[in-house]
Amino acid sequence: MIGKTQRFEPFAEAPVRVIDEAGQWIAPFAYNLDDDFVRGMYRDLVRARRLDERLSTLQRQGKVSFVASAAGHEGAQVGMARAIEPGRDWLYPYYRDLPLALAVGWPLAEAIAQQMATRADPARGRQMPAHPGSAALNLFTVASPIASHVPPAVGTAIAQKLAGQGDVTLCTFGDGATSEGDWHAALNLAGAQGAPVVFFCENNGYAISVAFRHQSGSVDVATKAHAYGMPGYRVDGMDALACYFVTRQAVEAARDGLGPSLVEAFVYRYGAHSNADDDARYRPADEVAAWRRRDPIGRMRRFLEGRGLWDDAAEAALAAELKAELDAAVRAVEAAGPVPLGWMFDDVLASPSLQLRKQRAALAAQRDLEEPAR
């Protein structure tokens, strides 16, 4: 762990930035990170982007039914991932968080298996794509209903407080989620309880087509922290290191018993909301282009190159390594084969109800429950 060195003021108007778009260090404190640590972050950023591209290809090939691209969100996610201790702390992500899940150690093959819902999926093909989860990593399985995971995140944080081990919970969501009643109820509870939880908003400016100014009368999300009695931080979400430092401060505060924080990272989603969306209906192409120029990956690469920590040869080697890794994972996941029909009856309760057992038996009399599901 890196020591407690710098402090960011809550509610500072300008989003925290550590490196600028040219890759220059601009923080008011000296660079104090381990070079391998930063290179590792860069690797996670690129790896997430390559997975994102591969999933879109698989979707077009009809092998994945749904994609919610995270391109443009990677900086925020890889940054915050480094601020918690995976396997010790708890993580409550949302559906656009595949880069985060990978960055805390979710195995690539498991991630792809979840997208393809084959027998290789530890969640047994139960969820639509873009719904990570891993009990081994304390990665709470994603639920589609927006903000429904925020109250449970606070419950976990209260349990952590009672356990007294200094563990914390990190809970993410989009800007749209901050309108749901569940979100407000949860932040209020966290404030009242002093729960060790960090709320992290990935504000990409839109909830599908609804721009933030129609989402809320507040100027931004961080402002809302005032109401719940916790610090709010604004951070440049295209700056992975800034996201790391700010989240780390919030996590340390939670560990030290100082209660919850709300971090708002300004990011952008380059693609449509999902493969089912058409973003040209509601946002201008030049806005997308302008944000793409601020890309967290290019920015981090320029920073590394400026310090002599990266070059074209390293980039080429990484590209080859990631391609091989992805190819192998997709192959293994496909080879596992489709999940069987009968699996749909499992895991409803600890042991199936009398009714469900009869329903299963009735279907078994008509169809082979071992046959592939479709």
């Binding site: 969820q127 639509m128 749901e180 609804v210 509601y282 749909m344 009856f345 279907l363």
Partner: protein
């Protein structure tokens, strides 16, 4: 007459009602510029503007609750919930406020409003994009619940819902949004009364009762039965609360055999209500017990998206059972 899909019919019917009555407003997530994620409100924003086509924040409690308050103040709100599965954050407003307003005020306050719920499975959406939550609402006195399956009925029932005096849960079979096209009358007063079922196909050997998205599987099953020389009568309930008990009982009494089809989970389902009513009212006229073909008592699965649905094979199996009884 225009040939149109269900989803086009929703948008065009809303446009007609908004043009007819300026009290009609539309609200929901992405219903404005985006035209709704299914395009069920396409064109409304450009034509009627942001005051009458309101892109709301992402909060179903606010959408449904605000619709109640608008209705009380004289508007005729039509709220879109993006997927039926996302009605639950707004459940309290629908069940505690909208449904009980007339009763608790002795009729002094009413909430004439429509809550549209795109529902049903078969779209590879898993448990949070596939549900049929009608049982929750038919179990809530003070609501009306409809679940049409054709463009004509969508037009007629949506107009009845908008023009009615009570809150209506308007379920839409999203799997059929673009699957069915038919001629829909231009008549701006084409109304289908809430509470009236329709016989889609006459037959003598067995009655198949269904509604909503499952109508398409039920009609396919009737086709397959016809090929085997079995003549199935098919009833489309269209309305679930109130439902057309009289028509169903009359037809079942004549034929003596009935299968009820619905894709919602079996236990406590609306199909159970239909079967129980038939058993209670027509037992001595039945040749076989009423049989239900339903979804299973599991959350809606992802990988088994199609298998979960009561498809023609399972319907045929049930028909065989009542014929062999």
């Amino acid at each position: 007459m225009a040939v149109q899909t269900i989803v086009q019919t929703v948008a065009r019917t809303l446009a007609e009602e908004m043009a007819r009555d300026e009290r009609v407003v539309v609200l929901g997530e992405d219903v404005g510029k985006r035209g709704g994620v299914f395009l069920a409100t396409e064109g409304l924003f450009d034509r009627f503007g942001p005051d009458r086509v309101i892109d709301t924040p992402l909060a179903e409690a606010a959408i449904i609750g605000a619709a109640v308050g608008m209705a009380v103040h004289g508007l005729r709100p039509v709220a879109e919930i993006q997927f039926a599965d996302y009605v639950f954050p707004g459940f309290d407003q629908l069940v505690s406020q909208a449904a009980k307003l007339r009763y608790r005020s002795g009729g002094a306050f009413t909430a004439p409003m429509v809550v549209r719920l795109p529902a049903g499975g078969g779209v590879a959406g898993g448990h949070h994009h596939s549900q049929n939550p009608e049982a929750h609402f038919v179990h809530t006195p003070g609501l009306q619940v409809v679940y049409p399956s054709t463009p004509n009925d969508v037009k007629g029932l949506l107009k009845s819902a908008v023009r009615g005096d009570d809150p209506v849960v308007f379920m839409e079979p999203k799997r059929l949004y673009r699957a069915i096209k038919e001629e829909v009358p231009d008549d701006p007063d084409h109304l289908v009364p809430i509470g009236q079922a329709v016989v889609r196909r006459a037959g003598d050997d067995v009655v198949l009762v269904s509604y909503g998205a499952s109508m398409s599987e039920t009609l396919r099953a009737a086709d397959a039965l016809a090929e085997q020389g079995i003549s199935a009568e098919v009833i489309d309930l269209r309305s679930l609360l109130p439902w057309d008990e009289d028509l169903v009982l009359e037809r079942v009494a004549r034929v003596g055999r009935v299968v009820v089809v619905s894709e919602a989970p079996r236990t406590g389902s609306f199909a159970s209500e239909v079967a129980a009513t038939i058993a209670e009212e027509a037992l001595d006229l039945l040749e076989a017990p009423p049989v239900r073909v339903t979804g299973f008592d599991t959350p809606y699965p992802y990988a088994q998206d199609r298998a979960y649905l009561p498809g023609p094979d399972r319907i045929l199996h049930a028909v065989q059972r009542v014929l062999d009884y």
